[in-house]
Amino acid sequence: MLEKKERYQNRIELLQGTLDLLILQTLQWGPQHGYGISVAIRSRSGEILQVDTGSLYPALHRLEKQKWIRAEWKVSENKQRAKYYQLTAAGKKQLSRELSKWSQFSDAMAGVLNPEQT
């Protein structure tokens, strides 16, 4: 029990809903497979944001069902057959919506936390 708790404390919990934004944003730079997405999020966040595979794949399949991303089997640079996800037109629109929602949200948070700066 103890061990488990510590592991969770070392990691920043993703806020509800932010995983979708992170996935869509990552895919903006081009098609990527699940492993690649998790690596990309981890490295771009400076190893702080760890995406749990248990959340990543259900999220990918959900986004695919919502037609915001599209999947395609391709062979990777290491000759590995992998399922690549890429943004659809609807997904791009969704991304910009999520982005503006996020910036609103973070401005609001910042305003509350550091009132003297605004």
Partner: protein
């Protein structure tokens, strides 16, 4: 469907490959960083987490998982049930009994109370009656003049029609047959809204004398008389010796009123058309759309009040009306009994559910490991609950299927509730109880609801803390205390409800014994009865009627084996009766005592063994030339003159011109059966007051059926065209007249027995299970010096409070619920303390015995064996 499976399979394979690719890439990344292959792979797996759960959750995102899970669960559930056939059989049988009993009772309720009547918008049909306040007749017949005013003055009915019963003798082929027919006013069929199957119904002008020799046949009569020949319309039949033209045939469902074989037009006689006191019509009306029966009632009352003011001489006491919906009219007196049965059978089902829930809870203890493993492998709580519920549903549906078979047999047992021969308007005439779509739907719905009902609590219970057992060295009893509490509560409820049912069964049993053993005022053994209607076209004068009865009786008396033979107008228990106002001479008022009258031949009393209390019976000398006499029942004599002797006094009888002298008083005869207070009041000599309805009562030396054929021949020797009906042993009547009560008693007794058995099994199951779980503890106790008596006490002290608590709740429930059965009871109070105490004692004793058996087993546990069992 196949395409769906195929797509599902592809996606499944893709998901597997996606996972595999992820793991491989993660491993390779670690290899690239210099880890050794084994470490790299296990690290990747560790980081990845629970693959099974991940796939499960991901698949959930695809949607449409429900069906897939369901098939999985069903297969798994079937496997689990097959692995434990004893459990499955017990549960299915218990449920089958509960569901079967419910379905059987429901199919009767469906037939009698719910099935749509075979008339258009039958909910708008009402019967309209007069209400004679002075005589206390709340459903009085209506005179043709009043009816005409009702029809023309009301604004609430779309149509109003009248009818009256008529008897015909059908001759012309085979044995002459008495036929029950109804005379319908021309628009009657139209008010009921039923079109004929063949031909047409009456035209208004066919109500006129001379044009009224036409008949509409019932489907059954058409089949019997014409073999279903479509050319029957236009042919003639002989009714009372006169030709009637068949103008139409009604469809099979149309049977109003019950027993009716054919209909003829209603022709109002000249006398009846002039006198408002000629009250003999039954009125049927159809409410206008949107008008309620209450609105119609108040309008009819104001019309009756107006008529009472206008015609005080005849209508003074007829100033209100009674309206009864056709539905209530038809279901009649059987309704409360059916509702009680429906309620009782619901209780039985509850107990069955509680028992199966108990079984499931007991089994859940044995399945803890399985549940724990499933939970550890990623099954969520809801998923586990769903699995358990699927198993319950399988049990419920199997129970429902077996129950349906039981029910189809059960309805045959219930059919005698509706006696076929007694013409009793209070009980509907039903000759089959179909298992229609509604019954099937009901059985299915009950199966599903009970499945959830008995399965939910065990499922929730089994899925809480599902993973605990794996942690505690595989021995602990996760949620054991909670499960025991739940089971104990179920057992208390079972005991309580069983007590209610047992008490109800005890009460109806006593009531029936009281009814069946009650004195009817005559002895039915060895009495044969027959009924003839002497048609007026042939027996035009009193002298002809008297001659017919004399000759027929002397023929019957001459038969070997006949002890005595007499006739009566309205045979007791046959459901028929006639009333006349009776008063001391010169004291006649409209509020006269009403008495059931009968015109009898002298030997009637001897044939029925009706005891003479004082004075004398009729003799042959009391003939048409002698002074008029009467014999009264004790009851009527007392009502007329409470404190004095009525012998030798003169009384006025409604319908007779001269007063009659009371020459004798006889014992009271229950005219309509033991449950009714109607007493045959006044007897008049047949030769002084002959009546065309003649019922024979023939006392034989042996089995009365043996003289039946010869007795009919004796009547035909006098008149070969005379129809003889209602040939049966008086004993059959005494049995049929209490048939509804007998069935109620038997069925409630059966339910009570089932409830008792299931409650006892429930108690036994809980105690035995707890003993099994505590074997270890008991072993320790005994090793530490507890004697077998102590162990016995220990186990009994667990069962005793449950039983006592159940009995206490049951007694409280009995007090609350028994008032609903009180209207069905005769000669016993609903809160009869002896019955309650008896039921409580029987239940408590059986339940304690059920505790004692496992307790004794526990007390004989060998401590060495018990501890090794560990």
């Amino acid at each position: 469907m196949r395409l769906w499976f195929w797509r599902r399979k592809t996606r499944e394979a893709e998901l597997n490959e996606e996972m595999r690719a992820h793991l491989e890439m993660a491993t390779q990344a670690r290899l690239a960083q210099g880890a050794n292959p084994k470490e790299a792979e296990s690290a990747a797996r560790r980081e990845f987490g629970n693959i099974g759960l991940l796939k499960e959750v991901t698949r959930d995102r695809w949607g449409g998982r429900f069906l897939e899970n369901l098939t999985e669960d069903v297969w798994y559930g079937l496997r689990m049930l097959r692995k434990n056939p004893g459990f499955a059989a017990t549960a299915i049988l218990t449920l089958a009994l509960g569901i079967g009993a419910n379905t059987a009772i429901f199919s009767v309720v469906n037939t009698v109370l719910l099935r749509p009547l075979p008339y258009k918008d039958a909910d708008r049909l009402v019967t309209v009656w007069g209400y004679n306040r002075a005589r206390g007749y709340d459903t009085d017949f209506v005179s043709p003049l009043d009816f005409a005013d009702w029809r023309s003055q009301n604004h609430v009915f779309e149509g109003m029609a009248a009818s009256t019963d008529v008897q015909y003798t059908l001759t012309g082929e085979g044995e002459p047959r008495a036929i029950i027919a109804y005379a319908f006013s021309a628009d009657y069929f139209h008010v009921l809204g039923t079109a004929p199957l063949l031909g047409r119904t009456f035209l208004p002008e066919q109500e006129q004398p001379g044009k009224n020799h036409v008949a509409v046949l019932s489907y059954a009569c058409w089949q019997k008389r014409f073999g279903g020949d479509r050319d029957a319309v236009g042919k003639n039949i002989l009714l009372d010796g006169a030709p009637y033209t068949v103008i139409g045939v009604m469809p099979p469902g149309f049977q109003y009123p019950s027993f009716t074989e054919l209909w003829t037009p209603l022709t109002v006689s000249r006398e009846a058309a002039q006198d408002r006191e000629y009250r003999y019509l039954r009125v049927m009306a159809r409410l206008k759309p949107g008008v309620t029966i209450q609105q119609a009632h108040s309008e009819m009352n104001s019309i009756a009040r107006r008529l009472a003011q206008e015609y005080p001489k005849t209508n003074k006491y007829e100033d209100t009306t009674t309206l009864v919906s056709l539905r209530d009219m038809i279901s009649g007196d059987i309704r409360p009994a059916l509702l009680v049965l429906l309620c009782a059978v619901g209780f039985v089902l509850f107990i069955a559910c509680a028992n199966v829930a108990n079984l499931l809870l007991a089994r859940a203890t044995g399945r803890q490991k399985e549940v724990a493993v499933r939970s550890a492998l990623g099954a969520g709580r809801w998923r586990l609950v769903r699995q358990f519920l699927t198993e319950s549903l399988l049990l419920g549906l199997a129970g429902g299927a077996v129950g349906l078979a039981l029910a189809s047999w059960g309805t045959k047992v219930l059919l005698p509730m509706f006696p076929p021969t007694v013409f009793n308007v209070d009980i509907p005439h039903i000759d089959n109880i179909p298992m229609d779509g509604w019954v099937l739907a009901f059985a299915l719905a009950v199966s599903l609801v009970t499945s959830v009902f008995f399965g939910l609590a065990p499922a929730l219970h089994a899925s809480t803390n599902a993973s605990e057992p794996l942690k505690e060295s595989g021995r602990g009893l996760a949620g054991g205390a909670e499960g025991r509490r739940l089971r104990s509560a179920l057992v208390v409820a079972e005991v309580a409800i069983s007590l209610v049912l047992l008490t109800a069964a005890g009460l109806t049993l006593q009531s029936f014994v009281h009814l069946a053993g009650s004195n009817l005022g005559f002895h039915a053994d060895h009495v044969l009865t027959m009924r003839v209607f002497a048609p007026s076209y042939k027996y035009k004068t009193d002298a002809q009627l008297i001659a017919f009865s004399r000759q027929a009786l002397s023929g019957i008396r001459a038969l070997p084996g006949v002890q005595a033979a007499g006739t009566v107008t309205f045979l007791p228990l046959s459901g028929w009766q006639g009333n006349r106002g009776v008063a001391l001479k010169g004291q006649s008022t409209p509020e006269n005592q009403l008495a059931v009258w009968n015109s009898v031949t002298p030997d009637y009393f001897r044939a029925m063994e009706i005891p003479l209390i004082e004075g004398r019976l009729f003799e042959e000398r009391d003939d048409e030339h002698a002074p008029p006499v009467a014999v009264l029942s004790e009851n009527l004599a007392h009502r007329l003159m409470p404190n004095a002797d009525l012998l030798g006094k003169w009384v006025d009888v409604e319908g007779l011109e001269k007063p009659v002298e009371v020459v004798g008083v006889v014992g009271d005869v229950k005219q309509l059966g033991p449950a009714s207070q109607t007493i045959a009041g006044i007897y008049l000599p047949f030769s002084q007051v002959p009546a065309p309805i003649i019922c024979f009562a023939i006392r034989a030396n042996q089995d009365p059926s043996s003289v039946a054929k010869a007795a009919q021949q004796a009547i035909w020797a006098v008149d070969k065209d005379q129809a003889v009906g209602f040939v049966m042993n008086m004993n059959q009547l005494t049995s049929e007249v209490v048939a509804p009560e007998r069935i109620l008693m038997l069925v409630l007794g059966l339910f009570g027995g089932m409830a008792l058995l299931m409650a006892v099994i429930g108690v036994y199951g809980v105690i035995a299970n707890s003993v099994a779980q505590r074997t270890n503890e008991i072993g320790v106790r005994m090793a530490l010096g507890a004697r077998s008596g102590d162990v016995l006490k220990l186990v009994m002290s667990q069962g005793l409070p449950l039983v006592l608590l159940g009995v206490a709740f049951g007694l409280a429930g009995t007090f609350g619920l028994m008032r609903f059965v009180s209207s069905l009871l005769y000669g016993v109070r609903a809160t009869d303390p002896v019955t309650m105490a008896g039921a409580a004692f029987a239940l408590a004793a059986s339940a304690l015995l059920a505790c004692y058996l496992p307790a004794r087993r526990a007390s004989r546990i060998d401590p060495l064996v018990a501890l090794r069992y560990e």
